[in-house]
């Protein structure tokens, strides 16, 4: 048993991560590492943007270069980092959390990863033919007129969408058909609920974007006229198709991260989660509502003005299940015995950062306000608070929380705290000024700005520099700890979900015998933490 646990993620075996494997744990690690590399690439692109915006005037990049950098920063962060890293977490954890040996379709799972990698490399390769420069939103007609890299970009996103959709089908089938005995739907960990809500969105909305990108590619390559104004083509058509996916995409990017937060809070406050069913149902509600709000990105597009109102309503309503979650999390930690370990720090940071992002989202749902700040830095601030302050904080919380399980090693807690502090300061310094400068009128996606915005931009660039350096303690910690950190026991955090009932890292088939579940995953304080719901004793 010891030997198996060691070799399944053994040091000498790192080559297996470069090869085709149908083991969900290997695929999960492949996703986690690959996406983190893309995160760093996307971050470099961000640094180029912030370098240019340090001063007014075009001093670092020219306009074309800036548009390419800006476009790919967004595209990389969304398509090659946040969406797939969360799929990576899902891949690693979902089978373990439901007591299964692997995903329902292991070969499809492997295919998903390699298609993702191909799409990612293709998107990076677009830089060699003149990168895409029409923004990550690729609005027509600009994206039809853009240079060749735009076609490569579109094909890359089609591939990435296919990979994502395959994953969504796999996750839903796995959770519905492979739960171990006693793992009823209402005993599923909330991370699994988050993945289910996400997968619903992935399956229903991603194919629409795929269709839309085919239309763009056809206009560019085969002379169709979908978006050719001279032939009565319709730019609003593209926006509808694009946002029908891309709004749910932001929920795809947050729901699993919220699931991670739901896992971390009970463990690090030694209390059951407050409102388990409400959190689970809120995830599903956000998922369903998320399909109805898309045109709030189009309020200034020239769409029928009366049609905007229902979108405003649904966009505000979606705050309700979100608020339910936040209050449930607060109630969870209230009066708890809190341990301020690094995962908990990031989870707490998530709450405050996501709150800022979420509340400003409600402002934006109001049509008159949105008309004023649309396409300004107010939006850039909002999106970074939810995506960085929310998703990335959640991702970091997850990386630290499950680091011992995945690598079999403990990370350095002091370095973790340094990383958190730098990230928290950097995030606020980068993005808070953007709210102000946006309301004052600085447009987004433009390489230059009026001189009166200079000081606020300098603050933001300073914040970005701190964020850039903040990755260093994390990288050092992750790499050195993985190589020679202290050996981790099966359950260093004394948590109750099933992945902690097997060794760190788990053996090839996850559990020596299929676990039998007798209670919920958050029953802290109701039985000793050592008596896990799984009947099978923790191996080794």
């Amino acid at each position: 048993m010891e030997a198996t646990a060691e070799t399944s993620a053994g040091r000498g075996n790192w080559r297996r991560y470069l090869r085709w494997s149908t083991d969900h744990k290997v695929i999960g690690i492949q996703y986690l590492v690959t996406t983190f590399i893309f995160f760093l690439l996307g971050g470099l692109l961000a640094m180029l943007v912030r370098a240019e915006l340090l001063q007014p005037g075009m001093d670092v990049l020219d306009g074309v270069q800036y548009n390419r950098v800006m476009t790919n920063h967004g595209s990389v962060m969304i398509f090659l980092w946040v969406i797939p890293v969360l799929a990576g977490f899902g891949n690693y954890l979902v089978p373990l959390m439901i007591g299964a040996r692997d995903m329902a379709f292991p070969r499809l799972n492997a295919l998903s990863y390699w298609i993702f990698l191909a799409g990612g490399l293709l998107m990076m390769g677009s830089f060699f033919v003149g990168a895409a420069d029409a923004g990550w939103t690729a609005y027509v007609p600009l994206s039809i007129l853009a240079p060749d890299g735009e076609t490569v970009w579109a094909v890359a996103v089609i591939l990435l969408g296919a990979s994502s959709t395959m994953g969504g089908i796999n996750f839903l089938t796995t959770v519905l058909t492979m739960r171990t005995e006693g793992m009823t739907i209402w005993r599923l960990p909330l991370f699994v609920w988050g993945m289910m809500a996400t997968s619903l969105l992935v399956v229903l909305s991603t194919p629409v974007l795929t269709a839309g990108l085919f239309l763009v590619a056809l206009d560019r390559l085969l002379g169709t006229v979908f978006f050719d104004a001279a032939m009565q083509g319709d730019p609003i058509l593209f926006q509808n198709i694009f946002w029908f996916y891309s709004h749910p995409a932001v929920y795809i990017m947050i729901l699993p991260a919220m699931g991670i937060i739901s896992e971390v809070f009970p463990v690090f406050s030694r209390k059951p989660i407050f409102g388990y069913k409400m959190i689970a149902l809120s995830s599903m509600a956000i998922s369903v509502l998320g399909l109805t709000v898309w045109a709030h990105h189009m309020f200034t597009s020239g769409m029928d003005p009366r049609l905007r109102v229902p979108y405003m309503v649904t966009s505000m309503v979606i705050a309700v299940p979100t608020g339910v979650k936040i209050f449930s999390w607060l109630a969870t930690i209230w009066d708890g015995r809190i341990r301020f370990s690094t995962p908990m720090l990031f989870a707490l940071g998530f709450i405050s950062m996501f709150l800022i992002g979420g509340i400003t989202g409600i402002f934006l749902a109001a049509i008159p306000f949105d008309i004023h700040v649309h396409d300004t830095y107010f939006i850039v601030a909002h999106l970074h608070f939810v995506l960085f302050g929310g998703s990335v904080f959640g991702i970091y919380a997850g990386l630290y929380y499950w680091f011992p399980k995945i690598t079999g090693r403990m990370f350095d807690e002091k370095l973790g705290k340094v990383h958190f502090l730098m990230t928290f300061v950097g995030t606020n310094l980068s993005y808070l000024p953007m709210f102000l400068v946006g309301i004052l009128g600085m447009p987004r996606r433009v390489a230059d700005y009026a001189p009166e915005f200079t000081q606020l931009n300098q603050l933001a660039t300073l914040g970005a520099i701190i964020l850039a350096f903040s990755t260093l303690p994390f990288l050092y910690n992750a790499i050195v700890s993985w190589a020679k950190g202290a050996q981790a026991e099966a359950n260093p955090w004394r948590a109750l979900t099933l992945e902690w009932s097997t060794s760190s890292p788990p053996p090839e088939h996850n559990f020596p015998t299929p676990p039998v579940v007798r209670g919920g995953p958050y029953d802290y304080g109701e039985k000793p933490a050592e008596a896990l719901p799984a009947a099978a004793p923790a191996s080794d």
């Binding site: 058909t177 492979m178 739960r179 793992m183 194919p207 629409v208 299929p514």
Partner: protein
């Protein structure tokens, strides 16, 4: 180490408890994603059909394509007859019906190709108008799905001739059937939206 080789079969206990098959569930979820994919293309087509009136629509040959529609419907019929035969443990009859399905699928594609050439001769192309763009795109993506179905049916036919399927192992054909009938339903919708209304 004790090798508890848990057979793959036991892994789907939850599926059995629910009374579903993980393969069928996967196929239905795939179909759901395909509904949305065609949905994007259909939305584009309808957007132009209803908002940009054109005369080109008069050039569509409803009778010809109606016959083609009937052919595709028949091919769904042959698939269910084949599956039924397999359940009766008559794989040779399944082979026959698969062959018929392939034939009908190919005839359907031929009919589409003929219709395309007729329209092209009358000036309706991918670039001639938004109608042309959306018409050819929508029907061609459907045609590609038919082609993939034909190839899948061919693979099933070869498998049947090699004795792969019997009354106890019908699921592969069942899954193919779900895909094929879905493609048929998409055509029913397309025929209505493009040719009838």
């Amino acid at each position: 180490m004790s090798s508890m080789a848990v057979s793959h079969h036991d892994e789907f206990k939850a599926a059995k408890a629910l009374g579903i098959s993980h393969l069928k569930l996967g196929m239905w979820l795939f179909i759901a994603s395909e509904v949305m994919f065609f949905g994007g293309l259909i939305a584009a087509f309808l957007n132009f059909k209803l908002n940009v009136p054109t005369d080109e629509i008069q050039l569509l040959d409803v009778a010809l394509v109606g016959v083609n529609t009937f052919i595709l419907l028949t091919s769904s019929f042959t698939v269910v007859l084949g599956l039924d035969a397999l359940r009766q443990d008559k794989p040779q009859r399944l082979a026959f019906f698969l062959g018929m399905t392939i034939l009908l699928g190919v005839v359907f594609l031929g009919g589409q190709a003929y219709e395309f050439s007729q329209l092209a001769q009358q000036g309706v192309t991918l670039s001639s108008s938004v109608f042309g763009s959306s018409f050819y795109t929508l029907t061609s993506f459907h045609g590609m799905h038919v082609l993939i179905g034909v190839l899948w049916a061919l693979r099933n036919l070869l498998g049947t001739l090699r004795g792969k399927y019997g009354a106890e192992s019908v699921e592969g054909i069942e899954l193919f059937g779900l895909y094929w009938h879905f493609v048929d339903i998409v055509w029913i919708v397309l025929f209505t939206l493009i040719y009838l209304i």
